[in-house]
Symmetry: D2
Subunit: 470 residues, 4 copies
Amino acid sequence: MNLCIPNRPREECGVFGIYNHPEASKLTYFGLYALQHRGQESAGIVVSDGSKVREHKAMGLVPDVFNEAILSNLPGHLAVGHVRYSTTGSSLLKNAQPFTVCHKGKTLALAHNGNLINARSIRSKLENEGSIFQSTMDSEVVLHLIAKSAHKGLEEAVIDAFSLLKGAYSIILLTEDKLIAIRDPHGFRPLCLGKLNDSYVLASETCALDLIEAHYMRDVEPGEIIIIDPNGLRSIKPFPEVRPSFCIFELIYFARPDSNIFGTNVYMTRKRMGELLAEEAQIQGDFVMPFPDSGNYAAVGVAQASGIPFEIGVIRNHYVGRTFIQPSQTMRDFGVKVKLNPVRCLLKNKRVIIVEDSIIRGTTSRTRVHTIRGAGAREVHMLVSCPPHRFPCYYGIDFSNLGELIASKFSVEEIRRYLGLDSLHYLSLEGLLKSVNGEQNRFCLACFDSNYPILLEEEFSKYCLEKEKT
Amino acid sequence: MNLCIPNRPREECGVFGIYNHPEASKLTYFGLYALQHRGQESAGIVVSDGSKVREHKAMGLVPDVFNEAILSNLPGHLAVGHVRYSTTGSSLLKNAQPFTVCHKGKTLALAHNGNLINARSIRSKLENEGSIFQSTMDSEVVLHLIAKSAHKGLEEAVIDAFSLLKGAYSIILLTEDKLIAIRDPHGFRPLCLGKLNDSYVLASETCALDLIEAHYMRDVEPGEIIIIDPNGLRSIKPFPEVRPSFCIFELIYFARPDSNIFGTNVYMTRKRMGELLAEEAQIQGDFVMPFPDSGNYAAVGVAQASGIPFEIGVIRNHYVGRTFIQPSQTMRDFGVKVKLNPVRCLLKNKRVIIVEDSIIRGTTSRTRVHTIRGAGAREVHMLVSCPPHRFPCYYGIDFSNLGELIASKFSVEEIRRYLGLDSLHYLSLEGLLKSVNGEQNRFCLACFDSNYPILLEEEFSKYCLEKEKT
Amino acid sequence: MNLCIPNRPREECGVFGIYNHPEASKLTYFGLYALQHRGQESAGIVVSDGSKVREHKAMGLVPDVFNEAILSNLPGHLAVGHVRYSTTGSSLLKNAQPFTVCHKGKTLALAHNGNLINARSIRSKLENEGSIFQSTMDSEVVLHLIAKSAHKGLEEAVIDAFSLLKGAYSIILLTEDKLIAIRDPHGFRPLCLGKLNDSYVLASETCALDLIEAHYMRDVEPGEIIIIDPNGLRSIKPFPEVRPSFCIFELIYFARPDSNIFGTNVYMTRKRMGELLAEEAQIQGDFVMPFPDSGNYAAVGVAQASGIPFEIGVIRNHYVGRTFIQPSQTMRDFGVKVKLNPVRCLLKNKRVIIVEDSIIRGTTSRTRVHTIRGAGAREVHMLVSCPPHRFPCYYGIDFSNLGELIASKFSVEEIRRYLGLDSLHYLSLEGLLKSVNGEQNRFCLACFDSNYPILLEEEFSKYCLEKEKT
Amino acid sequence: MNLCIPNRPREECGVFGIYNHPEASKLTYFGLYALQHRGQESAGIVVSDGSKVREHKAMGLVPDVFNEAILSNLPGHLAVGHVRYSTTGSSLLKNAQPFTVCHKGKTLALAHNGNLINARSIRSKLENEGSIFQSTMDSEVVLHLIAKSAHKGLEEAVIDAFSLLKGAYSIILLTEDKLIAIRDPHGFRPLCLGKLNDSYVLASETCALDLIEAHYMRDVEPGEIIIIDPNGLRSIKPFPEVRPSFCIFELIYFARPDSNIFGTNVYMTRKRMGELLAEEAQIQGDFVMPFPDSGNYAAVGVAQASGIPFEIGVIRNHYVGRTFIQPSQTMRDFGVKVKLNPVRCLLKNKRVIIVEDSIIRGTTSRTRVHTIRGAGAREVHMLVSCPPHRFPCYYGIDFSNLGELIASKFSVEEIRRYLGLDSLHYLSLEGLLKSVNGEQNRFCLACFDSNYPILLEEEFSKYCLEKEKT
């Protein structure tokens, strides 16, 4: 890694905030814990007792990063937390959030989920004026912009900053005595507001409210800024309104099935995707099986709609270590089998219908198909509960670039052959939209149809193109 | 703990051995990894290169106990491994296996799954003669008995030792250049033999063979001793033959569903239990749901036989840390919810049928029912895929003693009320036997019907009675 | 701690840099290792291979912070390292050095020894302009100032920055391909330049050159800037010349006795202090003893000049752990004895002359005297190899504030009584100057005579006064 | 390592025991801490609360092996502790002490300092009778022998066991409610008895009593057994009396200088060795210097007796890590310099007299001389405060075997040349005896004169001879 060359323009993350709770850091710990699926690379909590701000962040999973002793060193009644995800090896503690900076004796902490598409050009401008950066994260630009307008007061400074910024952002800011939530006008990423007795809670998904038994109030609305301070909660909407662009992939794969986001339940939506997929595909087979856990919910829908039995064709090993020793001799499909062992007795001589939520690069699915065939299946069919992924995401989901999206280069038939399948069916775009109640206008579908809600800056798109070449 | 007072007469464990493989310790690591469900408390590997014997064992899960560096310090071509499970807090590294002892410049290492019911009286006799023990484990008695007859040669010494020992044991012994497998005449615990090219493999369950891609040859038979050394593999059967008493609970709960044990597949057997349970119970409801993962397989059977839809009513959080921070404020059902969050949207106002594999003390099931009701279910029914557990196990499954088995004191109706259910159905003993092809004579059903295959020694039964009182 | 309130205006540190060595980080490791006495709180290394910059820093001692694996992840041929010392508990990884920042795709790393006395007012000005800070360290201001002038080129930017900065600083800067050393015009802190074959080496003290077998070339001169890059080494002196103000306390206590600094050898100077002290004090006693190790060298001088035998009255325990368990029962003088056990047999009934290098707060000396008396000494006399410390240091030595300096409030006779001594003699200021060859004009003696070489800014002195009150 | 082949017949260790103190384990921690110089490889504490026995031991230094949490899990009022030293790499946790074994529901814990010379033949006999061993340590034989006679009662069993055992042993045994101290009839190793209010304390050296402020009562006498239990303290002397054979090397090097052992003070004795050495050698030079810390005390004696100034020619780096990174490039004398840097300024052109306590293999001294010459010394002389080591020790000091003792093969003149010295003087045997008051008859001098107080068994001496060949 070079400390100063931006290495990952795209991030998947989870954010959590709480105001007015005597055990703010402990509740944030549980909140992050429920949001762990949104980021497994690093975790951090920043807490304030009204005047002193303390922080702890480290690489690793929430239960590894924090323990009782660490949490007891984080006293205070307001807190913000963050989990971060990275698919690359270039992870740095430097890039872990929340970010904290000092400005005129005040602390500003920031937790960001999303992706700012004009951060690079703004950063470049700031650097020309003499600003220095501690990380390569786009999110740091936000803090610089706020500091620049700080003399107007924090609220105005925040409005100034986000008037300049474009992209996807669900952000929580913490100062010594304030919590501020900001969601971009398109509302790409989810962010909800809840209440736990006299405390306000902010979280990426409702599953975090459930765990701490907070009551769901409403979503933070696209373009809304919520300020929570000793005077209570205020909401402002300083930005011009635009059509919402909720990320459909949150519903397909990323969010937890027990969460409600974008006004709908994730589990029910995925099951509906499966039902519609069964209708579209009209597949025949001995049984339907998911690859746990992400394919589980659509598979249930497929089974119910088709009447084909649901079976658990692979057994998950729950004890897989975080760093795993590789076998030095050849063990076929080892990477799959160590986590998911096929039930040979069940698969033997059967016509198996696998349900997957999506196919990105195709390599994982290919190995899985190979494993199922190796266990004796006679036919292997695959149903995918979304359309082919043809275009990269610039709003916070770390899809591989164009070159790595298998469907950007190959037809469905070619993919079927590459995966070694007897048949392959994707859910149609119409089917997908039907599963979310046909509200096409509320969603961003750019990864399927390339209708990007925000035009990319020339500079940024050039950067992306270059990156795809390398 | 007192270092010298036996604290746990019952053990659940997994064993693995390999002979003639250049990476014996690495293969044993993978084998133990696949057997992790049989013991999560400690793990150990002892390896020999033909003359030097090395060992590593520690408290914790297999991937935490071993790493590349540790494995590379365990060179050799024959190895034995062990995972151990404990439900009590009194765990000690001292009690971790394999045990190794020195005798006349030779090493003897032992990995034991099962429970010796006359170990205490033999130990007492040995101690009167001046023998000293390093642990409180019954298994250590085996090594003393072998040493006593060592002048006759190892094979004779092993026969001598096990002629004196009663109980359940699937044991693997390692010396500098030999691997010996011993299964008790009743065959309580599983033990299988496989082949990986020119290597012989021994394992508690076939799932360990699958992972390392070894070929299943056959089970080690009840009462059989297998000796593997530079001369090849030899089998002897020195003990009088008795009726087999395979542990039925291995099939109900303990073994991995992708394993084949006692000549049958675990997954298929559990599904059959579910099917028979559905027939017996004739239950009505909106959907069937398991508590993952142990109830999954019977639930699939119930759903298929009854035609009632299968749903995933609770979402498993895969990131639960091994030591978890407790909330200090009241969070209802926290212990359940942190691992398994109910899908409220699905459960709301529904008649829910939960499938459980078994009910031991009842406390876990009670909390689960409470959680499901709290998420809005209108009715909660429970199907259990085995009969009520009324009697303790003395052959290696750590059931709580009589006083803690809820079915030893209460009727089904009383249990239903305690758990807060609308209805409760257990699989009948006949149904259970039908699910394993009616071969009643091959199984130990003592935990259901108190027909203990081995009469307990007076001394031991007295001890057990006393223990139940405290 | 509050993340944003400066908590320690004063720092003691060690810096090291190397240019053009294939194992730059390893050599820096050894250099820091030799400078460990200058800072035990945190350690860090930043290395460049000409284009990529990597860093590692953590709380702890050099051998704990680094290992082979970490160093092998720090490849490159130029490096800078830093050790930092803190007497307070408010230590933060955030404040560990070298600092690295990103500016226009370039990295700038900074290692600083000293104290900038106008950093706070400059920081305040920068913050008003919208700059944000990651730490509470004064050193961070340097980087902001350099970034502000970066468009003029690095060399000009460095000159611009240090033209604004006042105080004590021996600094090493690293960029992708350059090493820059800067020493303030007064030369408060030492900094030397050496050569190791084709590599240039920079270090706080010559003992770091000795360990890696580099050849001492010369001191970096007060007010000098040295730039080392692919074109070789250049020196500039852009600042107005002033009278040097070498810190006399480096010679008395802080530097390692085997180093040469300020043109003199530390050991020989300390021994001379002892000799002059013996002459001044004309003390009688049975033997002279140091408290190891800091009093050793003056004690040798005292013994030689007075003819009184030198003895080792206390034995040092070399195994004292870094975190030590406190006894819960009363153990008198435990803190001293656990490290230094008196030799009772030697001390019993003797007239003992203890030699100390300095007395700051008096608490440590008081306990030591108590321990010696408790071991049976009949008389206890103390010689101190410098004058009484009456005034705080603002140039990088962390003396307690005025209120904590025992000599700022009490007379020598009062101190003698407080310490429980039979007699107490300090070296006179004249004696001290004689020991450094009378070159009064080259040294800062402010802690003894309050003649501060740099006038403090109003703002800063006010801050210091306030701090003393709290 | 092979788990079962004895790898080190010789051990250096420290033992500590305490009876009737509410914080027995904490006091033992401090006691071991003071005895750390006697063993740095492993540390262990076994504690009893009168009925339950608990233990903790691990590889490493005392402050690393224990922390507050571990000690708080070791409640009880009687405890025994052990530190163990090893010069070889074959260290195993298995071999760490105290050993604990179980016998008839009772625990027996053993801490041993010394070496049993007939342990191997007894072990062999026991193994023929069927006994098995957990370690390769001779000390384990003691426990087997005690168990064999246990039916006679513990006291008789201890007498029986030690009537069979030959060699050097200072041993502390702990049971649930008893502490037993045993010192062999020759009294090779020290062991003292102290009192702390109502508690009895046992320790290898008095420095352990000093730290916890216990009062020294007397030495445990050669051949004495002390039993401390609820009835108080009893002493028996069941073995035939023999001439004492105190290990002279404890006084020369091994014990801490602030301890009193064998009725004399270690510091004063070492200083006297230096004084007599100065008289014998009549050396000329500019100054005398020790290599810290072991040479310090004799050097003080040399300086005082000769009138030659004492100087500190090398500076000790106190921050040397336990595992140290090696330089990959050539750094001359790195191993010495990293710990001890010469003061070039002092050594330059001087006639230097180095004082060493002993020369075993000569390699360390050779490097040290080289370092001193490299720093510019004109002449280098060496005084050694004991006679040449010509013969191995079989009673608990890990001297290298005959082949590695430089003085067993070479004359003083040859050694002088090998070390690169201008002159070399050893203290004569007469001088050595004079320094311990001429009480020749009380000491074992076998390493100098081969008069071994206990005849070795044929079997053992053969083993030793063989070992010397390899």
